[in-house]
């Protein structure tokens, strides 16, 4: 048994680590691990969280050894507070939201693409490597303090639970596991909304059963700095005892508190320009965003709050002379935040889709519609007619009363009665890390476990058999290999024959996932793959070696597929030879060559 159980909330904008002494795990409350990090050039300090930013400076930008840590000499990058500080001043040199890149659909998260706008391609790293750097930092910071005592206390020797968005599909989970492996860590993955719910279970360890009813559906609404994540948990009655099952997860929604602060700041900036003719630069916008965040917290907490002063200090040494000041009223906040991001809407509303231009720049797929309530309506509609009877909020944004009460009001409107229960007692910022810690306890059998199946269904593309028509490629259909809800830690053979692999050649399968198609069974065929509810994943490939004379190169070997879903939601697909020598081959994710995507432009120029 490890000495500690460690929970890591690997957030899009902030990372928190909490830990428990494994021997006292049943009673102890998780403690937050203060993370030593570079806070400025040549300066390090402990902070309660590690901002998820990575700064890759040029030689001249920082003094020699200014990014060194006790365990790292001559460092040429840094993660944490100083990196975040530079995100606005040096946008091309700082990686942010690396996590969202892990599940970005149009890029390969193992290729060297970040920071997206860096001028020197040789300095770019992959989203997987960025994640690895964050984990390495946590490992080394721990081993420099708690882990310095004895060999048993080393980070890599502990039971580590790492949280990922519930919307992460098998590939994004696999990428996260690869990053952990490269940081020489063995981790268990846990979905963030589940972790938040575990924190709630821990907070009410004695009497949680009194607070929910059998048959009830609980919505976990997690709105972080950069992303929004929904999950539904069903309370079931198993022979008189309550049981919990995670029945649905949402898509990855790139919308969070940072968008709200920015929206407020840009609103104020526009008003300043209109009323006073003052135009703010990037630096001032950053200062204003910070002031807006503070004003938001006051205005959202108290319905009678006075207008809040917003001050942007001068950038140069003339701090008084350069100061711009304005104020924001509760009505303005209501308009830009509550009505802007949480408009009252119908359950059958859906978020507006952006009209995708023919040529889109690569990058993160930010939401076209900022209405969180519409995303929520679409999520609930996709998962049946039943509406949640209880809600657990999580994430920094949900500390704002004005916003959470609007969400409650909206759901009550859909329910047609004002009886939605709000589950409380957790810390909106730290519940995920604490809950992850608690999950370590759950795994040892000391507390109730939320049962969860695959949150996605998965498909491989197959060519439909039809008479060859010159000039027309045969239509592609999708074969379901993992159905929604497939139990984690199990495997199944796909009842479909008609697949073949060519010996000595690489066979590629296109691979798709869906968080919305909950009714398809393994072995079923979906005729059209160009649909909104399927998203592309990296291709799968298998190469059969030329082994014996009976099957020379070029021979077609008929195969079946087997899907293996691990405990932590990663997926393996195997090809099983039908008849013959019953050989098996694993399908590998096809990771494209590790070149930045925008290098293609340069090649085109040459």
């Amino acid at each position: 048994m490890s000495q500690y159980i460690i929970g890591i909330d690997l957030g899009t904008t902030n990372i928190a680590v909490s830990y428990l002494n494994a021997e006292e795990a049943e009673e102890a409350v998780p403690e937050l691990f203060a993370i030593i990090q570079i806070t400025d050039q040549g300066e390090r300090d402990k902070r309660s969280t590690l901002p998820s930013f990575l700064y890759l400076p040029d030689d001249k930008e920082v003094s020699k050894k200014a990014l060194d840590l006790p365990w790292a000499a001559e460092r040429d990058y840094c993660v944490g507070a100083f990196a975040r500080k530079n995100a606005q001043l040096l946008p091309g040199k700082v990686i942010s939201s690396a996590k969202s890149w892990l599940c970005a659909q149009n890029v390969d998260s193992d290729s060297k693409i970040l920071p997206w706008n860096h001028e020197d391609p040789s300095r770019k790293i992959s989203p997987v490597t960025a994640t690895q750097r964050f984990l390495e930092h946590l490992r080394d910071a721990w081993n420099d303090s708690i882990g310095a005592d004895n060999a048993k206390a080393k980070f890599q020797k502990q039971d580590i639970v790492l949280t990922v968005p519930a919307s992460f599909d098998a590939v994004a989970r696999d990428m996260t596991m690869q990053a952990a492996k490269k940081a020489r860590l063995e981790v268990t993955l846990l979905e963030e909304p589940q972790a938040a719910f575990y924190a709630w279970l821990q907070a009410h360890n004695e009497n949680w059963r009194d607070r929910v009813a059998a048959g009830e559906l609980i919505l976990v609404c997690d709105i972080g700095g950069g992303t929004t994540d929904f999950s539904l948990i069903k309370v079931t009655d198993e022979g008189g005892d309550l049981d919990l099952q995670r029945v649905a997860v949402g898509n990855h929604i790139l919308l969070g508190g940072d968008n709200m602060d920015l929206a407020m700041a840009y609103g104020v900036a526009a008003r300043l320009l209109e009323e006073k003719g003052v135009k703010l630069d990037q630096y001032q916008i950053a200062g204003l965003t910070h002031a807006c965040r503070e004003a938001k917290e006051v205005l959202c907490a108290d319905a009678n709050a006075k207008p809040q002063k917003l001050t942007v200090l001068g950038r140069g040494s003339s701090v008084v002379g350069g100061t711009i000041t304005t104020e924001v009223t509760i009505e303005q906040m209501q308009e830009s935040l509550v009505d802007g991001f949480f408009p009252l809407c119908n359950i059958d509303d859906s978020p507006q889709q952006s009209t995708k231009a023919g040529l889109r720049t690569f990058g993160l797929d930010y939401e076209a519609d900022p209405a969180v309530t519409k995303h929520l309506a679409a999520f609930l509609s996709r998962h049946g007619d039943e509406l949640p009877g209880a809600i657990l909020f999580n994430g920094g944004v949900t500390k704002a009363n004005a916003l959470t009460s609007r969400i409650v009001e909206t759901i009550n409107g859909w329910r047609g009665k004002k009886d939605l229960t709000v589950l409380d007692g957790t810390d909106a910022d730290l519940a995920v890390a604490h809950g992850a810690c608690w999950y370590g306890n759950v795994r040892q059998g000391n507390a109730i476990r939320i049962r969860a199946g695959s949150a996605h269904s998965y498909y491989v593309a197959i060519e439909s058999s039809m008479p060859a028509v010159p000039g027309i490629s045969p239509p592609v259909a999708a074969l379901c290999v993992v159905q929604f809800g497939m139990e984690e830690g199990t495997s199944q053979e796909i009842p479909y024959s008609g697949l073949g692999l060519v010996v000595g050649e690489t066979t590629d399968f296109k691979f798709f996932g869906s968080a919305d198609r909950t009714e398809d069974n393994a072995g079923e065929i979906l005729q059209d793959v160009n649909r909104d509810d399927l998203h592309n994943l990296p291709s799968l490939s298998a190469k059969l070696p030329v082994e014996d004379k009976n099957t020379p190169a070029g021979t077609l070997v008929p195969v079946r597929l087997r899907a293996v879903l691990s405990e932590i939601g990663t997926l393996q697909l195997w090809c099983l030879e039908e008849g013959g020598s019953k050989r098996e081959w694993k399908l590998e994710y096809e990771i494209r060559s590790a070149e930045p995507a925008n290098d293609e432009d340069e090649e085109a120029k040459e």
Partner: protein, 196 residues
Amino acid sequence: MRISDAFQAFFRVLGGADLVDKSTLPPEPSTPEPDPETAKKLVEAEATLAEAVASLTAAEAAQTEAAEVQFRDGAVYGLLLLQREGRLIDFLQENVDDYEDEQIGAAVRQIHRDCGKVLQENFAMTAIVDESENEKTMVAEDFDPSAIKLTGKVPSEPPYKGFLRHKGWRATKVHFPTRSGKIDPTVVQAAEVEFI
């Protein structure tokens, strides 16, 4: 000579005392002259001692100088934190004669808030006597005159009962981040040059 060397030399002398036996001690006026061998040892021992004392003095001086440098750098660093987080130096260095009070007030509100955070986080500033000012207070008999200043008609004997005019401030901790690398300790705010 480094401090450690100086100490080594000093302890060498102390530890070497056994080779300077009692007979090598300075002679009593009445005793006869020591034999030449002992006299030589005595001279050597005195020389070693003198050398050790000299190097200790040098070490002390170096130590004092190091402490002074540390103190000076620490003081500037305190200013740096107030400037970086709260723009205090910009504010104090600026000529505010020509600005309206409203403009100054707007800036000060922000500077006040940000500098206050530094005082709390880095110095944990707390009142020495946490009571209401201008109310009666009792000063303990064994009070520390550097922390509590008695004024007015101070009684010659306790009880010291008076009015609290200023509750005092104490930095209950000094927490500075660790610094490393090649950093110029006199810089309070780096100049900034932007390329567009």
